[in-house]
């Protein structure tokens, strides 16, 4: 029983991290229809810079780095969208072009990290990294619990931004009906830039907090990008809340599956549930026929 409880707790803690990263992906897909293959690599980039290097150079805590990463990667995302992606959006083959382009970004980011900081895996070694609270026989890792709360704040903040600000509402409108937005005088180029930048910024912050409790290397993105896509699809493609719930479900299945199968079949279990779920509810958990963000 304690084992099952421990695995569920671990699943929730890991799942929320997936959820934060997936929410950025859902936002970008929901508004711009871009399948961003480089998404997880932006998180990995943030794990190195600012997280790891700020800690090495100036002893800046990774949770503070997460706050620094938000504006930093907002700018990176905005520039990437306006200078590169913007040029192919709108063309007849834009979905394919952006897909290939983001694959290119992914390779570029991985290899730039590799060239600049080598392939050596890194660990953030802070007092909270391995310390635990004990509730009965169930352990709660300090770093993961802090990350859980910060992740919820990040997603809550994103939700509020999208629902309570003019720009947020414009982003949602652009996701629902871009043509209508254009007629209403909304600058779609700017809105797309902000949406992409927001998605990248929240992912980068998610990467910073994820780095507090797990090691990473330049290729770490490859190992989680499929899980992020699965979270988004499971949650309902364009729904941010759905992406969070999708991430949670995947995290819990990943952990609990070890009761029944060996760890090598962990992801098989995840995708088995994923396929079954989509068979029963093709639009995903919170997905609707119309877009929700």
């Amino acid at each position: 029983m304690e084992n099952a409880l421990q695995l569920i707790v671990s699943g929730i803690l890991v799942g929320v991290s997936y959820g934060v990263l997936a929410s950025g992906l859902a936002l970008i897909f929901g508004v711009m229809k871009i399948i961003n293959f480089a998404h997880a690599d932006f998180a990995v980039l943030a794990m190195y810079f600012p997280t790891f290097w700020f800690l090495q150079w100036w002893n800046i805590d990774p949770f503070i780095s997460a706050a620094i990463a938000l504006p930093l990667f907002f700018v990176v995302g905005y520039v990437t969208q306006r200078l590169l992606l913007e040029r192919v959006i709108g063309s007849s083959e834009s979905e394919t072009s952006t897909l290939i382009m983001t694959m290119g970004f992914s390779l570029l980011i991985c290899n730039l990290i590799l060239i600049e900081w080598s392939g050596a895996p890194r660990i953030i070694n802070r007092p909270y990294t391995l310390e635990t609270w004990r509730l009965g026989k169930v352990l709660f890792n300090h770093a993961q619990v802090y990350s859980l709360f910060i992740s919820l704040v990040l997603i809550g903040g994103l939700f509020l931004f999208l629902n309570k600000t003019m720009i947020g509402k414009a982003i949602k409108a652009a996701g629902d009906d871009p043509e209508g937005c254009a007629y209403m005088g909304i600058n779609l180029h700017f809105i797309y830039g902000v949406a992409f930048a927001l998605g990248i910024a929240i992912t980068a912050a998610g990467g910073c907090i994820m780095a507090t409790y797990r090691p990473f290397n330049p290729f770490f993105g490859e190992s989680i990008v499929v899980i992020l896509f699965a979270s988004v699809v499971l949650g309902g493609m364009t729904s941010i809340t759905g992406a969070l719930v999708g991430g949670l479900i995947i995290g819990i299945i990943q952990q609990l599956s070890s009761f029944f199968v060996t760890v090598s079949l962990q992801n098989v279990a995840v995708f088995l549930v994923f396929v079954l779920f989509l068979y029963l509810r093709p639009q995903g958990l919170l997905g609707k026929k119309e877009r929700v963000i």
């Binding site: 421990q6 671990s10 895996p121 660990i123 635990t132 070890s258």
Partner: protein, 415 residues
Amino acid sequence: MTKRFVIILAVSGIVLGGFIFGYKNKLALTAAPDIKIATVFPLSGAFSRNGNLSLQGAKAAMRWVNDNGGIKSLGGAKLVPVVADCGSSVEGTASAMERICRDPSIVMALGAWASSFTMSSTEVTERLGIPQFSISFADALTARGFKWGYYTCPPYTTLSGIFLPKVLELAKNAGKEVKTAMIVGNNQAASVSFYKTCKDYFAKVGIKFIGEETWAIGTLTDATPIMQKVKTLNPDLVIYMGDALTEIQMVMMKKKELDIKIPFVCGGGWLGDPSLKFGGEYLDSWIALSPSFPHKLTPQDWIKRSLDQCRKEYSDEAWVGQELSFEWSTVPIMAEILERAGSRDRKVLRETASKLELHNVMATRHIPGQGMAFDETGRIAMKYRDCLIVQWQKGRPYPVYPPNLALAKPIWGAK
């Protein structure tokens, strides 16, 4: 001083200078051409760290040979690596080796770190008739009847045959009896063969395996469920194999976090990698098998050269681990073969390598068995096969076996 004396002195100076200049140029003109060594390692992709460290070690060792007069029997010819990146793939390795070996002046080949890469690159060198030297230790490499491959490390079966009894002896000396064991690690070929050897040996000595948790290399995203199982099953010993450092870090962090004190015994010297220094204290008491790790007899100059070379071209390593020191078991041996052959002819080199017999000489200082000869398959001869046991203590790894090479005393289990 007369004017005439000054003129004579000036003219003598010019003439002497001319002689020195001419002699130096003559030397330069007649200097022996370089000895080109095809050097193939994974320098990009998932195994780039291992490949880059191996390359830095090889470069440092070649520079040591060159600084000591090069290959004297070939007029002081220098060893020069002709480097190709095999890009962390089996097919990439074969094509990289093929590409650089088109140069007819390639004398020998070196590489390619992982056994599977060496397997494909030796297909090329065997066909072209180029002696290739490697540290790879999969048994399958020498089961193909090839004639041009030379392996300076013992095969996995021999390594584990030496390692496992020593580990049990260590437990016994600490007053612990190992009755149960569990396997945790990736399921790549070398790991699987290590698990099999462990299972066979433990079955023979009456140790029961009570669990096995393996995964495909690079796919582990969270170590919680695995370490939870280890904690629940509570074996006396865990056999652990990992190659991806990130996965090792995940396992070691989770072991510490869940306060698991069971001894971890590992089949690979990667455990001494300096990149693990961040959090190295979590590895205290972990034991690993390594065919190559700086020990008591490894010359300090070799260690310094490796670190200097690595800092210059790759990364700021804190100490020399397995990968950075591997090629010191190979390059000095290659130089010795060239020296004895006194020829660049590949067939002559192969014959010389096959008859090689070295013991307690400078070239064998870094080899645990302190000697080098090759058997008919090209593998290091049985009499010189030995391994090192490396253990983390107080935040860094030290060789703890064999006693004559050890730099620390072994301990059993975490405190």
